[in-house]
Symmetry: C2
Subunit: 222 residues, 2 copies
């Protein structure tokens, strides 16, 4: 919890409560967005909010999503509807002396904005290349590139990161001063994300050796 | 991807696209909600959707959230505003022969509804006890229980799970039939959640031995 709050990017993303956990630094925002595979996209239709888990990726100051261009939600997003996107990673369970001060260590980010469809094939192709590379570094050059038809079947949306904020908690529990004398174990139980051993597709030609991307895999999750 | 689609709980949560991945079974819904520490809560204010990562827990057919009763968002939720909640866990990276068929293995759930505030101290107390136990089995009896004042400072909301659905992908990649002959490694890189070694609070009395809850920790994340 060594955050120093700095001025928020906009009133709408300002963290109103627990301001000490707010951090509006861009580098932190980028690293949290990059560390998550899945974001949660919120949008509104007929007054009803929806929240959909989606794969996302980032290029510079843009957050990218892809989907089926004919789908109802894609068309809604493309129309410029207001959206919110959030991500969160759990880093540990914070076990305090009091039930009340139990918490979790986490990193999270929130983005508000509108989506813009990427229309030119070159730009779309570049964005999708980055998606494959973001999922697993080096994978892009190992697999078959998208056909023209596959590119047509994939809609790509970009959301500017101009209105966004990130927030995290780290470190030990913070208890009431009088509770520190209680005979209770306190601390943090870390939660870690690990990769397992690659599982070959049963339908794969047995002669395929493990590709470079999987020898020392570079993942988004950190 | 061995899901058999069954009739959706309501039109609003029906998965419109990729219906083969839909599964409306209650047990699956519960297990996915229980396996996630953090949900993403979407609500609307002045037409703008917001998405906020929050700790959640489940009791029977209710999803619970807690917050500061005086906060703007808590008061908005308590007023019966329509909300959506989603959770997602990433289980693996699906490395197909084609860039297009790359995917992730995941488990996700979506809930639509409204929140109801839990007002009676007994019910609130019971819900918060369950929260501590849900984070780490056995922890509730090891820490100091909430004071009356702490209970007053904690608002608890319940959302019925009557309108909810879950969705998952598992198993190997699915490629175009003609791509199976390509000399490309295909398969799944599993993503696993592990717990690390407990980190004692530096301010802890050195005489505290590791509590029972941490000897063989039972976590939500599975």
């Amino acid at each position: 919890m060594s955050n120093t709050p700095t001025p928020p990017a906009s009133e709408r993303t300002e963290i109103k409560r627990v301001a000490v956990r707010g951090n509006y630094e861009r580098e932190q925002l980028y690293s949290i967005l990059d560390a998550c595979y899945v974001c949660h996209l919120a949008f509104v239709q007929d007054g009803q909010p929806f929240s959909i888990p989606m794969l996302h990726w980032r290029i510079d100051d843009g957050l990218y999503l892809h989907g089926s261009p004919g789908s109802r939600s894609y068309r809604h997003l493309k129309s410029g509807a207001p959206i919110a996107v959030s991500v969160a990673l759990v880093d540990g369970l914070v076990l305090a002396r009091s039930a009340f001060h139990h918490s979790i260590n986490y990193r999270s980010a929130v983005v508000l904005g509108q989506a813009q469809a990427i229309e030119t094939p070159e730009e779309k192709s570049r964005a999708l290349d980055t998606l494959v590379e973001t999922v697993l570094v080096g994978r892009g050059s190992e697999c078959r590139a998208p056909s023209e038809q596959e590119l047509k079947m994939t809609g790509v949306l970009r959301i500017s990161l101009s209105e966004a904020s990130s927030k995290l908690r780290s470190g030990p529990p913070v208890d009431e001063e009088e509770d520190y004398d209680l005979p209770i174990w306190a601390g943090v139980l870390p939660i870690e994300t690990k990769i397992g051993a690659p599982v070959p597709d049963p339908r794969m030609n047995a002669a395929q050796s493990l590709p470079d991307s999987l020898r020392t895999p570079k993942l988004r999750i950190k």
